[in-house]
Amino acid sequence: MPVVQDLIDQDQGLFGDAILTTRVDDVVNWGRKYSLWPMPYGTACCAIEFMGAVSAAFDISRFGAEVVRFSPRQSDLLLVMGTINYKQAPVLKKIYEQMCEPKWVIAVGACASSGGFYDNYNVIQGIDEVIPVNIYVPGCPPRPEQILDAVVKLQKSLSPKTEALSGE
C-alpha cells in the first residue's frame, strides 16, 4: 500500500483520475443508496398508493428502489403501509426480524405512523411500538410523490459523510 501511495505522491499523472481515496463504508453506502430493495407490507389503502408509486406514472425505479421483493430475506427496506392491529403486530415484528442487516423501515401513512383515526382497542398506535422506524410519511393515504420523497430522504441519510440511519 505505501508503494501505491508513493506512486501517487510522486506522479499524479501515472494514475490520474483512476484512483480516489475514500472509506469503505462510504463506497458501500453509495452502492446501497440506489439499490434499496423494498418489501411491501400492505394492509390498507396506502398499499394501493404504493402500486401507483411503482407503476409507470410515478415510477419509483427513477430513484433506484424498484426491485420489489415479497420475501423479507431478500429485501432491505420494509414499507409498512396500512393499519396494524394488535393481532398482526407480532407477525410484523417477525417479518422485520427475518430481514438481513442493514435494514430500514418506512411507515407509510397515518395508520402505520400513529394509528390514524383508529384510536381504539385493537389498533396499535404506530408501528414504532413494535419495530424501529426510519422515516414517517403523513397522509391518509399519502400521495405517491410522498412515498418517493420518503425513499429519497432515506437515500440522503445513507449518503457518504452522513451516519447511516440504521434501524438498530
Binding site: 394488535y86 393481532k87 403486530a89 407480532p90 407477525v91 417477525k94 381504539n120 382497542y121 385493537n122 411500538e129
Partner: protein
C-alpha cells in the same frame, strides 16, 4: 312478516311476544328459551334456509334487559326476510342457546357475539374468541369496556416457518 306471524299464531300460540317496528320493517320478539324452537320452525316449516347474520346489542343504562341478540333469516325461494329479536334475561350472565346445529353459518357469528359482547352461547361446539387474540381480557364492544383501555401486544405463538418435511 305477517305470514310468519300468522304461522306462529296458528301452530305455536304465544311464542311471539311482540311485533315491533324497526328501521327496516318489523321484528318478532321472542323469549330466549324459545329460540331453538323458532329457528327450527323457520327452517323446516317456513323455508327460511339461510342465516344472514347474528348481532348483539348492549343497551346499558338505556333499556332493560341490557343485552339483546338479533337474528336475521332469509328465504331464498320466496326472497323474504325475517328479523328475530331475543332480549337476554340476565344482565350479569347473558346466555342464549346455540343454533349452529340448525344453521352452520351461526358458528362464527356466535363466536363473534361471545368475543365482542360476552354473550355465552350454550351448546356451541367451539366457543372461542374469533377476532381478538387468545389472552385478551374482557369484551370490547360492551358499553362498560373503557374506551382508552389498551392491552399488551401479544407475542407470536406459532412458528411461521414450518419444519422441513412437516406440513400443518
Amino acid at each position: 312478516m305477517s305470514d310468519v306471524k300468522r304461522h306462529f299464531d296458528e301452530f305455536h300460540p304465544g311464542l311471539i311476544k311482540e311485533l315491533r317496528a324497526v328501521a327496516m320493517g318489523e321484528a318478532l320478539v321472542i323469549s330466549p328459551g324459545d329460540l331453538r324452537l323458532v329457528a327450527l320452525a323457520l327452517k323446516k316449516d317456513l323455508g327460511f334456509d339461510m342465516l344472514i347474520d347474528i348481532a348483539a346489542v348492549d343497551f346499558k343504562g338505556k333499556a332493560e334487559p341490557r343485552f339483546e341478540v338479533d337474528y336475521f333469516f332469509y328465504n331464498l325461494a320466496r326472497k323474504t326476510r325475517v328479523h328475530i329479536k331475543v332480549p337476554v334475561a340476565s344482565s350479569d350472565k347473558p346466555e342464549v342457546d346455540s343454533i349452529t346445529d340448525l344453521y352452520p353459518a351461526a358458528n362464527w357469528a356466535e363466536r363473534e357475539i361471545w368475543d365482542m359482547m360476552g354473550i355465552i352461547v350454550n351448546g356451541h361446539p367451539n366457543l372461542r374468541r374469533i377476532l381478538m387474540w387468545t389472552g385478551f381480557e374482557g369484551h370490547p364492544l360492551r358499553k362498560d369496556y373503557p374506551i382508552n383501555k389498551r392491552q399488551p401486544i401479544p407475542v407470536l405463538d406459532v412458528n411461521l416457518i414450518p419444519e422441513r418435511g412437516k406440513h400443518s
